[in-house]
Amino acid sequence: MRAFRQPPIPKWRPVKDLPFAAPQAGNRRAQAGKALIVRGFRATMSFKPMRAVSPRTARGIDTFTSVLFVLPNFIGVLVFVVLPVTASLVLGFCKWSGNRLELSAIDWMGLANFTKLLGFTTDAPAVAVVGGIALAVGLVAAVVLALRQRSAWGRPARWAAAAAVLAMAWGVRRYWAGVIDPQASDPLFWQALWNSLVLMTWGVGGRIVLCLAMAMLLNQRLREIVLHRTIYFLPTISSAIALYILWQALYHPDIGVINQSLVAMRDAMNGLVDTFGGPAGWITWQPPNWLGEISTAKPAFIIMGWWHQMGGLPMLLYLAALQGIPEQLYEAAEIDGANAWQRFWSITWPMVSPTTFFILIMGVIRGFQGGFQQAYIMTRGGPAGSTTTVDYFIYNRAFFQDQDMGYASAAAWVLFAIILTLTLINWRYGQRKVHY
């Protein structure tokens, strides 16, 4: 009955019938305690009935029904998100093949998984634990800071974030002291991290440039624009696995259409050179075996990602942003004599910067935790691990290669921490760059 604004309901009546002296109303805490005692007394001992409609109900608060509404989803989230996350954290400190489902099959490893992953050969595990906890608490606090800057948690969160910075500084100091030894870490994991970073950076960068260019092209007054939009959107809607199989064939050194056309172009150039009296077979360049060589596997993935994303979701977002720019801005700039280049950098780019920011954040998050499907379908992480992303590393360790759920969980938590940190950095410093 929220439509009718009810008069403010008076507070509970002053207490007269307490069997003992109530605490003096000196401060808020004492008052709250008093109220609690009164309520408890009334609810349990008093012969006076409670009020027919409690203030909460009158204000439309119905906890029971609301919880019933949330419950189906909440149970699912509890069982399939919260429980696994907790279990994953515990598993990160264990070694377990996952084949035998008994507790005796699980070995407690302490911090060994993490030290092996990251190369912390510390002589004092307790110190590492304290440092780790400080880091974790600090990161959580930073989340709080980033999400709500004026919350009641602001001060403790700031302290915790400072503690995290201290922990990091301490880590750097230990690194210089030679206690943290990258050589002792898992080289495959660091390689996977590097691969993820490279793929993510080029992927996101290229996506922003290409999608913005595409959106500006598709934001023109042409009759056949809808057809183009459909064509550019096709890869987004196609089954990703089918496209990866297709691109694996396209990158094939012999029958792949990419190398065939490259060879055809080379031969045409050679023919041209020959026609003008140059040496026969002047260009001897051979196209690479894209997915079979360490130096070209990652570029092949990046190019495929661009093709895949060029007309997809980011492009549509840019298009919507471009159409939201008021026309007057351009008219004013034209009157002032700005050329197209100036108009782009002073109007278009700032006006679409929220979209850019959104695409950047989502790209970083998705890019860092993705890459399994491509690697699984096209290269199985090869050649020599050059396309193994962190994602593929984790699943490989958990299900295919060593079958060590504990080690995989530890790696997953490292990945989680990295994603969280990157997101927070984006939030804190990216939003300042966004301006209209």
Partner: protein, 456 residues
Amino acid sequence: MRIKWRKYRRGRLSLAHAMLVRAVLLIGAVGMLVPFAWMVSTALKDKRTMASEPYRWLPKMPPAAPAAKWYVDYLWATTPDFKDVVLRDFDEAAHRLPGRPTRQGQGSLELAVNFDAQDERTHTIDLSDSDRPGVPVSMLAFWLRGDGSGHRLRVSIHGDGFVYKGADDLRAGFEGWKEVHCFFRPERFDPLGREVVELRREPAGDAGYVDLASIRRIELTVLPEPLVARTWQQWTYSFRKAWQSMPFGRFYLNSLFVSLAITLGQVLTCSLAAYAFARLRWPGRDKFFLAYLATMMIPAAVTIVPTFVLMKILGWFDTYRALILPMLFSAYGTFMLRQFFMSLPRDLEDAARIDGCGKLRVWLHVILPLSKPALATLATFTFLASWSAFQWPLFATQSMHMKVLPIGLSAFQDKFSVEYNLLMAASLMVMIPTLLVFLFNQRFFTQGIQLSGMKE
């Protein structure tokens, strides 16, 4: 936030500008379409014509002449305990490696038929004179070389009082040698990608094997086929082959069932929870919602390993429950619907409450009908996401009959990793349904993307 495709910024473009934009767009569109074109072109070819030099974009037509030429060689039979018995070897010199016809067919049995000249159409391989051991055989096999003409070949086996006829005819749509396996009781799907013929008994009856000594003759009948049918058969060869090699029908049904279940479940649970978060008042609501949002940041890699273990413990591994249940609840859907519910006017809801509706009834009769676009968007995205989901189904299922489409396609790729015509045909079969749905509901897709995308 929506895109108006017909209402453009600024006036008419200058001619040069329009031409430039057109050229760039056209080049890009060609670049987008070439991979798809290559896919279709490869799926229509067979192994031989795929590597042709120079590259052909269109597959070859079968020859128009009403004639067919086949070569048959190296007949053998397999006992139920997998021992081979060679029945006929017409060109023994060719078989340095056992079972591998290496030459171009000289010396092999030649079946050449000119259908205009009414040539002899049935060729008989007489086995009655040879002394063969009286062992049961479950499979009869031979090497066959077609000429790409696409006419049909029918296999039948005649013995003492029985006739087994091939249920399907062989097509000469391929060039080069192939191994043909005739089973008395074949597996439904042949994962090795062989040419498989099911032999059916006449009069009807069933036997898993026959006695080798009682087989008198094998008859191969060549049947003519019109050009259109031959072309069709030849171009769809890869598709039929892929369809026969793995239970793609089952994959389709699995995918459909799982995706529909996930979509329904998500729309239901998410809209309930979103209503409680958007409209109902209860202590701790907003903090709780923030915690809900925070779960969206957790990468899948963290949750998949323990969820896999949970499925093992519950005994749900390799069941539909494992495929559906973990995907049924999403914080993202709740978030999206909550944002939409908050934007609905309260008046209708209040009117319903005054008329005596309970909260559940308000949700069902006021909120849900008002938020059809948001629900449709959530349903579309959930459906697409679960239709293309790969990681979780890969780890949660094992057996062939539980695979969903992407996993089935991946398994198909494992089997036929170099036969690109089959791979492309299978990929196309997987892609076509979503493409069709998209082409007919384009507008809806793009608007849904805008609705969900920017509000995050």
